[in-house]
Amino acid sequence: MNFDLSEEQKLIQETARQFASERLAPVAARLDREGDRETFLANLKELAGLGFMGLNVYQAYGGSETGSVAFSLAITEIARACASTAVTVSVNNMVCELIQSVGSEEQKLRYLPRICSGSYPAASFALTEPGAGSDAAALSTRAEADGDGWRLTGTKVFITSAPYAGVFVVWAVTDPAAGKGNGISCFLVEAGTPGLVIGREEVKTGQRASATNEVLLDGCRVPREALLGRLNDGYRIAMSELAGGRIGIGSLALGVGLAAMDFATAYAAQREQFDRKLVEFEALQWMIADSYTELEAARLLLMNAAFRKETGKGFAKEASMAKLFASDAANRACYKAVQMLGGYGYTASYPVERYARDARITSIYEGTNEIQRLIIAREVLRSFI
């Protein structure tokens, strides 16, 4: 057993850390408060140029071929500086991996180089609907055969990167007569396709620089080649690709939790009350010890899930465990970080309130932590029932 990263993994981690601290950290607070999409997209473009949008994509399609462990390391380092950027990078990678795993050769050659190179600023994963959140199989967007193509009608919500995505992976019902989850298919819809309407942008608690929109499909017509993967295989595709995405979200949560604890610990090592440094008080030492222990456990769970994925082993249970634990650990770390800064922690003069807001969604999106428990229990019970 070897816990050491390879030289390549260390160099990727170092590159991500350096880029994050030099380019992302200085603007993260401003992007959170004011938006400034131009700067946000410029950073994404640079990250694409360095190869961060397709870490698990073959170089023949414009990817980096670095493997899943490097993907986890990169997302954590980016999230330490800017969670909004990290979630965009994570979703872009998930869309790339989905297209690579089920797409036709033509689809791979058309879309992967565009996402990997940054010629598309981002790509979107359009699964969730107002009536189909955790119960994704209940989605009602319809895809009806229309001549030699398809006509999509329905409403998607919480779509990351929608206003600047170059392509959307859209899930829709192709066989309403089939049993639940058996009649859903996956489509690639390019930005600008008539009938693809980017709706209202949500005002969110955290990760505010990353856009989250409603997306309407108003009789949106796509050619026959837009079908992604096999007909009526869409639900299985979504579930299996989300497992990889969970490694991304867990890694993001870890980065935010580490950023919060590193800041709060450095602060408490300087700040004095009752003529003593805050870190000399046992109450704060316990917060520090608990948080770093939990974050270290999260890191090991993530590395294990990523390593299993990279080496072709089953990883759905491990990815869910890692996402569940890392996001909860990050939220607890952020809560404690705010507490350690006291009143200052609640102000925008210090970054920990932003970390706390950014961490909150990690126990909700890419499958709520309740859904993660359901998946974990199902996987565990397989060997008992």
Binding site: I12, T15, G49, Q59, S64, E65
Partner: protein, 258 residues
Amino acid sequence: MKILVCIKQVPDMESRFKPDSAGGWYSDTDLAFRMNEYDEYAVEQAVQLKEQLGGEPEVVVLSVGPDRVVEALKKALAMGCDRAVQVQDPAAHLKDPWQIASAIAGYAKGENFDLIFTGLQSQDRGSAQVGVTLAEILGFSSVTTIVGFEYADGTATVRRELEGGLKARVQLKTPALVTCQLGLNVPRYPTLPNIMKAKKKEILTLPMADLLHEEARSATVSFYPPPKRSGGIVLEGDVALQVDQLLDILRDKTTVLR
């Protein structure tokens, strides 16, 4: 054209350093290592020159040290160097700058390099001697502390930093060696595909014993943290008196009023 870049792997300068058990250098357990900052300028300039000349020059990157230096070599390869040489020595930190320069010269003299780029100094030892000593041993022209570099037809034109904010423009014919300073360029981030492709580039390992036949000319006697500073002087009392006291201090202990 053939170019050599000499790099060193040094600890992250944010680290907490403590002396090793022998007391002659820092302990390297628990330290994270990276490429010496000045050497990144050297790598970047060599790669820019290679690009300027249409990719013709071969750029060789060399590092002396234990096996962990391979990570720094791979970074240089990912930034665009063609092949790497590790002068393998687990105890490189016990060699003095004369020995390090001699060992590098032992490799370089048979290779006919036209240009050698090094950092101005290492961030850990900071002797700033290896580059110029190497140039002397090889009989190369050399210029230190460069902040600008141009090359055409066998002549390098460099700008170097002088004391007091002055700059000098110097021309030197190859074979030549320059040591690189902050401000020369902005080192590129290695791209992820290039980090992966660097795996396929050659890394030659040469034992230190095959290259070094020189005794040390200096020795590090001990390595210790600087004494803790005292708390400073707080002037109290009548303001006019404080001003007089301050003037006395500035006159006696500083050069501000001279």
